[in-house]
């Protein structure tokens, strides 16, 4: 087992842990953190792929590294935007819950029924 494989497996574990947290945690902030954990997993995987693709005496394939930097910037911006919206939501409503509204009511405001 070489280094690239170990990192690949670690990346898989990170993606799995992050995905679990993303689906299960009801708190938006935790979801944002979970998104970043998944993101770290993906970036680590990309790094491992770059390492595996090393050629021409380079220690790694440069293309994934360049894309990685861009990906990190995008994930950072996404996190910043999400946290900003979350803070505004808390300021406006005093809560951070994502669930909205009750289930559709069984009682139907239906004139046909009202007439009976």
């Amino acid at each position: 087992m070489n280094a690239a494989t170990v990192f690949g497996l670690l990346a898989t574990a990170l993606v799995g842990v992050g995905l679990y947290g993303f689906i299960v945690n009801p708190q938006p902030l935790r979801k944002i953190l979970a998104f970043n954990v998944i993101g770290s997993g993906v970036f680590l995987l990309f790094g491992a792929i770059a390492r595996r693709g090393a050629a021409l005496g380079l220690s790694g394939d440069p293309v994934p590294q360049a894309l990685l930097i861009t990906g990190i910037v995008v994930a950072f911006s996404a996190t910043a935007l999400a946290v900003t919206v979350l803070l505004r939501l808390f300021d406006e409503t005093g809560s951070t819950t994502l669930s909205s509204g009750p289930a559709p009511s069984a009682s139907d405001p239906d004139p046909a029924k009202a007439r009976e």
């Binding site: 299960v24 998104f35 293309v63 995008v74 935007l81 939501l89 819950t97 669930s99 069984a106």
Partner: protein, 583 residues
């Protein structure tokens, strides 16, 4: 190296199409205040001119336009490409943005006596950002640039949802953003896997080098599902109804008509261009199955809505389903690949037709809301007198959605039905027809309420601008007249509206639609005939209402966060299984 790795004549217009809206955005931000709107107007004129210029040079050369950034050819460099698909989408988006821009001058003008108002400034900047991101989506030639474009589109779309800064819309925006982020990370993971397997992300190179195998299947499944989450295809639609219904009308129109088309376009790129031979028949059936479910559930729940804007949002959900019906029909069993042809033309026509019609409907709904002070469907009486042109625009947009002659949706439906017939996939033809009937149902329901007279002549709460009504009407007319695009297609597809066969179809559609509206509508117009019908049909109606309620509860259950998150994972596995099973 592929032959197209050089910049073609007219290729320079491609980076311009992307850069000009973003430059306009930056200029608007720097100049601030009411200058942002002026800059936006100038940019819209320039952007429309660029889109037309691209179409012109494409027609001249008859070939894909290419611009190689910095002269570095793929796979190391990045190429922007515009084929026929990109060009029609760019022109359509330019037209819709121009229409919405004219409308938004009324809603998002900076008030007198104020140097700078937050919502108008943000609106104009974000409108340009959405446009630039969409143009990048349409011209990107590699999967990573597509990822960046997709993210830009989301970042521009999310703040549009919460322009008014109220708690409920902020919540919708956060739901939208978080779920969209899940979608984009799935897409990115898929792209990373593809790079690891094929060593390139360039679409044209992938078409030659992507081989079937566990890694490519997993990657394609991840990317597809991620994109579906961003497109809000059923059952990944938890964010769409509150976000699209809660935003201001001029923003809803952008979100519903344009933003969801961005990720849809990338699915098309992926399945038709990057790896046409990979997904196979079973995955296409799965994709269209989700589309069919979206059509049925979206339309039925739309019929059950009490608010006009929510009705239109659910209608968008259903129309997104239509977009995915083309995939199995474009599958060529002989080669085992997806082929570009009349079916793809039909699908894109559907997308453009929906973009124009839905923009018109949201704008019209905004004007009706402004005039009446509410958008409760049951209390729309008198709207046709107050804002006749807006109601007309809504009606024309609705008629265009139902696929009446000579709308773009009609032509698209003809092409898809023909393909369903030709390939023996009759079940998709059934869904297409049923969707048309349900659409007719809710359009009729709204119009029946809006056309009712009121006892006292109502006074408009605010006087709506003529230019706003004209913008909505023009967009609706665009959608209704798109059927004339058949001039470029072989065969005589559009029949005269007075043809006996067409008239019979129209009659059946209207009667069946009215019956569906009577059976499922939440509040029926209170007319004597309606009361008589209700008396006769009340047992039937109780049953149909129960069915409608069932659909509503299903929709509500699927829109819970953990259910949608689980659907995301399950769908990825299903797509991967369907792709591997095809071998």
């Amino acid at each position: 190296m592929t032959a197209d790795a050089v910049t073609t004549p007219g290729g320079l217009l491609l980076p311009l199409a992307v850069l000009v809206p973003f430059l306009g955005m930056i200029a608007g931000l720097v100049l601030g205040g009411r200058n942002a709107q002026r800059v936006a107007m100038v940019t819209i004129v320039a952007g429309v001119a660029i889109a037309l210029g691209i179409a012109q040079s494409m027609l001249q050369s008859g070939d894909t336009l290419v611009y190689v950034l910095g002269g570095f050819a793929p796979p190391l460099g990045i190429a922007l490409r515009a084929d026929g698909l990109s060009v029609v989408m760019m022109v359509a988006v330019a037209v819709v943005i121009a229409g919405i821009g004219v409308y938004a001058r009324g809603d998002f003008g900076t008030p007198d006596g104020v140097r700078e108002a937050r919502a108008p400034l943000m609106y104009w900047l974000l409108l340009l950002a959405v446009w630039g991101s969409l143009n990048l989506v349409f011209t990107s030639g590699d999967l990573f640039t597509l990822y960046v474009a997709l993210e830009l589109l989301t970042f521009a779309g999310v703040p549009l949802v919460c322009l008014d800064g109220k708690g409920e819309t902020l919540r919708s925006a956060l739901r939208y953003l978080l779920f969209a982020l899940a979608g984009s990370i799935f897409y990115l993971l898929g792209a990373v896997l593809i790079y690891g397997e094929c060593g390139t992300l360039d679409v044209a190179l992938l078409a030659q080098s992507a081989q079937p195998g566990p890694v490519t299947w997993a990657a394609a499944a991840l990317m597809t599902t991620g994109l579906l989450a961003k497109t809000a295809l059923f059952p990944l639609h938890l964010w769409l109804p509150p976000a699209h219904a809660g935003a201001p009308p001029a923003a809803s129109a952008v979100l519903s008509a344009l933003v969801v088309k961005g990720s849809f376009f990338i699915v098309v790129r992926l399945w038709f261009d990057a790896m046409p031979a990979l997904p196979g028949f079973a995955a296409a059936q799965l994709l269209a199955g989700l589309g069919a479910a979206a059509i049925i559930v979206g339309n039925v729940v739309a019929l059950r809505q009490e608010r006009l804007k929510l009705l239109i949002a659910y209608s968008t959900l259903a129309q997104i389903g239509y977009l995915f019906m083309m995939f199995p029909l474009a599958f060529d069993a002989g080669t085992g690949a997806f082929v570009r042809g009349e079916v793809l033309a039909g699908g894109m026509l559907q997308a453009i037709s929906h973009a124009t019609a839905k923009a018109a409907m949201f704008l019209a709904a905004g004007l009706i809301y402004a005039a009446l002070g509410h958008d409760r469907i049951a209390d729309l009486a008198g709207a046709a007198r107050l804002v006749p042109l807006s109601v007309l625009a809504f009606a024309l947009g609705g008629v265009a959605l139902t696929g009446a002659v000579p709308s773009g949706a009609y032509l698209a439906k003809k092409l898809l039905l023909g393909a369903a017939d030709g390939s023996g996939q009759w079940w998709w033809a059934l869904v297409l027809q049923a969707g048309g009937l349900l659409t007719t149902g809710y359009v009729l329901l709204v119009l029946a309420h809006a056309l009712r007279a009121t006892a006292d002549a109502p006074a408009p709460r605010v006087r709506v601008r003529r230019s706003q009504e004209a913008a909505a009407l023009a967009l609706a007319a665009c959608s209704l007249l798109l059927g004339f695009a058949d001039a470029v297609l072989p065969g005589d597809l559009v029949k005269s509206p007075l043809d006996p066969g067409e008239l019979a179809t129209l009659l059946v559609t209207v009667v069946a639609g009215a019956a569906l509206a009577l059976a499922l509508g939440r509040r029926l117009p209170d007319v004597p005939a309606g009361a008589a019908l209700a008396a006769i049909g009340s047992p039937i109606r109780r049953m149909t209402v129960a069915v409608g309620g069932l659909f509503e509860r299903l929709d509500f259950a699927l829109r819970r966060w953990h259910v949608a998150g689980l659907s995301l994972v399950v769908l990825t596995l299903l797509f991967a299984a369907a792709m591997s099973g095809a071998r």
